[in-house]
């Protein structure tokens, strides 16, 4: 009964705060509708997903915040009409403010997480970068929220701030190497300077494909198959040539080999043309091969290169200029086997001998010494999986490697054509390019010129 009596006397003191609360509530509902409808209209025009995220995260909480505001205003009103004492109002106000701060902070954390994830995913940032960024923002919001709450409840701030600053300094010292890497990693991905799968060339001359970009390092697989791990900070400071994404992958990779050679002395020599022709019939193919190819490697720096050893000796030691010219003009490129080439050389010498009545002898010490070519073939670490890698490797392989795949493969190993053309056609379907390289007469170029011409032909296809 006492309660009823109290309500009868004080109903106005209760009704006013309740009305105020309800009024604020309904105004809030209206306000939310107006604000969010306006926002949605604006978003439809702008087509931005960020706005959608903001709306979906804040729509529900927005009403709750206004309810808290309503309760707060009602609380203030109840004091004005002397329902509550000022001490109670202060306590209630602090509680409502604390709820608001905690709630607002929580929503802010959710919103920041959604926005960071959206933005960094769009830039294809590594997952580790996203997680670390979210954590940093969340911790920052929590710390600020806690500081505001402590301030609200009157806690002593100075020691807390000192502890906080000290903690920040310690964190900076501990993570001093990580932050620049993080920023660099972010920049690398955000600016899209390099991407996973790109073929890049570093300032140091190393070349390789980007295997992975983490938040601290970038991993590159070199053309030799080695893995290089470069801190992102260093990568940002260096000059990079980016050849771009991997083009069509070959059915089978091209394994580059290199060929080194030894000169084996046969102990056989010739002092005149008859002896030269006679010895030529009996020596192994490796001897004929040596004397028709040694000039290619011996005088790579000369343009045009000198001719084969037989022509040189016939001219220098015997003084037969016409025969020398005939021997020099034999087109080695035409012959499918060393045996066929040998027959041609012997034929030219014998034809000349048939027309010569008196044979000249080479001066003592100027005899022709028959030398045998011993080729030692080794696989190199270089393997090309596509045309781009093929060109990059072609730039750096040794002359021995180029020589092996062009000269030795065709004539000595009787593979019909050079190794490059075969691979380009069979494994990459580059028939036209393969034919262009096949048509090149390598005997007309220095090794370096040959390398450059093949690179240029390949680059036209890239």
């Amino acid at each position: 009964m006492a309660i009823i009596e109290w309500l009868r006397v004080n109903w106005l003191n209760i009704a006013i705060p309740v009305f105020v609360f309800l009024g604020v509530f309904f105004i809030s509902l209206w306000l939310r509708r107006v604000v969010y409808n306006a926002l949605e209209r604006w978003l439809k025009e702008g087509k931005t997903e960020i706005g959608t995220i903001i709306i979906s995260v804040t729509r529900g909480p927005f009403l709750h915040w206004l309810l808290i505001l309503g309760a707060y205003i009602a609380l203030q009103v109840s004091v004005l009409i002397s329902v509550l004492k000022p001490e109670s109002r202060n306590l209630g106000g602090k509680i409502l403010a604390s709820i608001f701060i905690a709630y607002f902070g929580w929503i802010l954390i959710r919103l920041s997480r959604e926005l960071i994830q959206f933005y960094l995913n769009k830039t294809k940032a590594p997952q580790r970068v996203i997680m670390v960024t979210i954590s940093i923002v969340q911790v920052t919001i929590i710390v600020i929220g806690v500081l505001i709450l402590l301030e609200l409840w009157g806690a002593p701030m100075t020691p807390i701030l000192i502890v906080l600053i000290a903690a920040i300094i310690v964190a900076i010292l501990v993570f001093r190497d990580i932050f620049p890497s993080l920023v660099s990693g972010f920049q690398l991905t955000q600016q899209k300077q390099i991407k996973t799968g790109d073929l890049i060339r570093l300032e140091s001359g190393e070349e390789g494909r980007v295997e992975e970009i983490t938040w601290r390092n970038t991993q590159i697989k070199t053309l030799e198959g080695n893995i290089i791990i470069i801190p992102n900070t260093k990568l940002m400071q260096t000059t990079i040539i980016n050849y771009g994404k991997q083009p069509e992958v070959a059915k089978e990779p091209f394994q580059f080999s290199t060929r080194l050679h030894l000169k084996e002395l046969t102990g056989l020599s010739a002092g005149n043309l008859s002896q030269l022709a006679s010895r030529l019939k009996e020596v192994p193919d490796a001897v004929v091969y040596y004397h028709t190819h040694s000039f290619i490697e011996e005088y790579q720096f000369l343009t045009p290169e000198p001719t084969n050893d037989f022509a040189l000796w016939v001219q220098d030691a015997l003084g037969y200029d016409i025969l020398a010219e005939r021997l020099a003009s034999i087109d080695t490129f035409e012959f499918p086997t060393v045996g066929a080439l040998r027959q041609m050389i012997i034929g030219v010498i014998q034809d000349f001998l048939a027309q010569t009545s008196h044979e000249r002898e080479a001066p003592s010490g100027n005899e022709f010494h028959f030398i045998k070519s011993i080729s030692i073939v080794l696989p190199t670490p270089y393997v090309a999986h596509d045309l781009q890698e093929f060109v990059s490797i072609l730039r750096r392989i040794s002359i021995g490697s180029l020589y092996f795949h062009i000269f030795e493969a065709k004539l000595r190993l009787q593979r019909g054509t050079n190794d490059f053309s075969r691979w380009l056609e069979e494994c990459l379907g580059e028939k036209e390019l393969a034919e262009q390289i096949t048509r090149l007469d390598p005997y007309n170029y220095t090794m370096e010129n040959l390398r450059e011409i093949i690179i240029q032909l390949c680059e036209k296809r890239l």
Binding site: L265, E298, F301, G365, I376, R396, S398
Partner: protein
């Protein structure tokens, strides 16, 4: 060898891929031990080559060792005679001296630790150690650094009985090859581009050496570097110079030394000085052994480098001259034609007049001289540097197990 020199120091000279290939080859010899045996650790060309090659091969990861044979003075007198006889010089070697050679070899057979998978025996002095092959097997290579193109037949027959038991021989020139039942590889000598004699020198260092010997920096300089020996034809060089000087103001430097084991060299020096007379443009420089920087500077200051020898071994002085991109005028003897391709990497001559004519061509056409010099340097870079000699040795070691012409490793 300068202990600071590393195999990677040669990368800027021969290219990274060249050194990479050396490492690849060295890797294939992993676990093998190579034992070099010669007659001395210091002095002489072989010791100098080994003192450079062994550390570099070790840096590449190849276990290369080096031992020497021991012998008394009498033994080395005999080996000196053998050496001269192989060069074609008439030497009377008694049966007792052959016996002394074999007895000393026998003592060394008992003293030397033959722990190696491949034994590389240098020159004739230790050649008979091959007798050990019967006991221990392994692969044996005879590395002959000397000219055996016209050997004394009695001495050669004596040495041949040992040589034919080796698995392979390595010779410095194609015309040294003999009809032998063993494989013979051709590996010419080389120079070290980082040695004092061949390294780059600043202009001030070159000027200082010219000042030291009283030479005029502004006058074209024709240089011949060789010990004072009739076979180097110093008087022919002076005659050629006098022919050139009729048309061109130039100076001649004959730089060399006198060898203590060659009593004739002092006599030659005196006669050359007399022949030069009071000509202020002819400078006869008796340079003591070990003056590598001085020789290097003189070669770098020269306009033309001449080697008008009547007989010659490989002529490393020509290799040094070409490496310094100098136009050379040289006789077509010994190993010179291997290095000088006439009109491509230098000019060959066969007479005093020919030497004078070639020199005039270069002095009248400095651009032609520079072109020859450039070609010469590239030729040396590719074929006559120490890196190529290292590669040849590695390839020979790896080839011993194979008989085919194309070997896949």
């Amino acid at each position: 060898m300068n202990p600071k020199i590393n195999v990677t120091d040669y990368e800027p000279i021969v290219g990274k891929s060249y050194i990479e290939e050396l490492r690849m080859l060295a890797g294939r010899l992993s676990g093998k031990t190579i034992l070099n045996i010669n007659s001395t650790l210091v002095g002489g060309g072989v010791a100098e080559i080994l003192s450079r090659l062994v550390p570099l091969l070790n840096q590449l990861g190849v276990d290369v060792r080096w031992q020497i044979i021991s012998g008394d003075a009498q033994f080395f007198e005999v080996t000196k005679k053998l050496h001269n006889a192989l060069h074609g010089k008439d030497e009377s070697i008694s049966d007792d001296e052959f016996s002394l050679f074999l007895e000393t070899t026998e003592r060394n057979l008992n003293q030397i630790d033959f722990s190696g998978d491949i034994l590389l025996i240098h020159d004739p002095q230790p050649v008979a150690l091959i007798a050990k092959k019967g006991d221990i097997g392994r692969k044996w290579i005879w590395r002959c650094h000397i000219d055996i193109s016209h050997p004394d037949s009695r001495v050669w027959e004596f040495l041949k009985q040992f040589v034919i038991n080796y698995d392979a021989g390595v010779l410095s020139s194609p015309n040294f090859a003999q009809e032998l039942p063993i494989r013979q590889f051709f590996a010419p000598p080389s120079i070290d581009p980082l040695s004092d004699k061949n390294k780059e020198l600043p202009a001030e260092a070159v000027d200082a050496v010219l000042a030291k010997y009283g030479l005029n920096r502004d006058k074209p300089l024709i240089l011949q570097v060789s010990r004072f020996d009739w076979l180097k034809d110093p008087l022919g060089v002076i005659k050629a110079f006098e022919l050139v000087r009729k048309n061109f103001a130039c100076q001649l430097v004959l730089a060399g030394g006198t060898a203590s084991d060659d009593p004739e060299s002092g006599e030659v020096l005196e006669e050359v000085k007399e022949r030069a007379g009071g000509n202020p443009d002819i400078h006869i420089l008796d340079i003591p052994p070990g003056s590598d920087i001085d020789i290097n500077a003189l070669q770098r200051a020269a306009t033309i480098i001449m080697q008008k020898s009547l007989r010659e071994g490989f002529a490393l002085t020509i290799t040094e001259a070409l490496w310094k991109a100098k136009p050379v005028v040289a006789s077509a003897v010994g190993g010179i034609p291997l290095q000088v391709r006439n009109r491509l990497t230098g000019l060959l001559c066969h007479s005093i007049e020919g030497a004078a004519y070639a020199s005039r061509q270069i002095l009248a056409n400095p651009e032609y001289g520079r072109w020859l010099g450039h070609n010469g340097r590239e030729h040396i870079r590719q074929h006559f540097l120490i890196t190529r000699e290292i590669r040849d040795y590695l390839l020979i070691f790896l080839t011993l197990e194979h008989k085919e012409d194309v070997i896949y490793l």
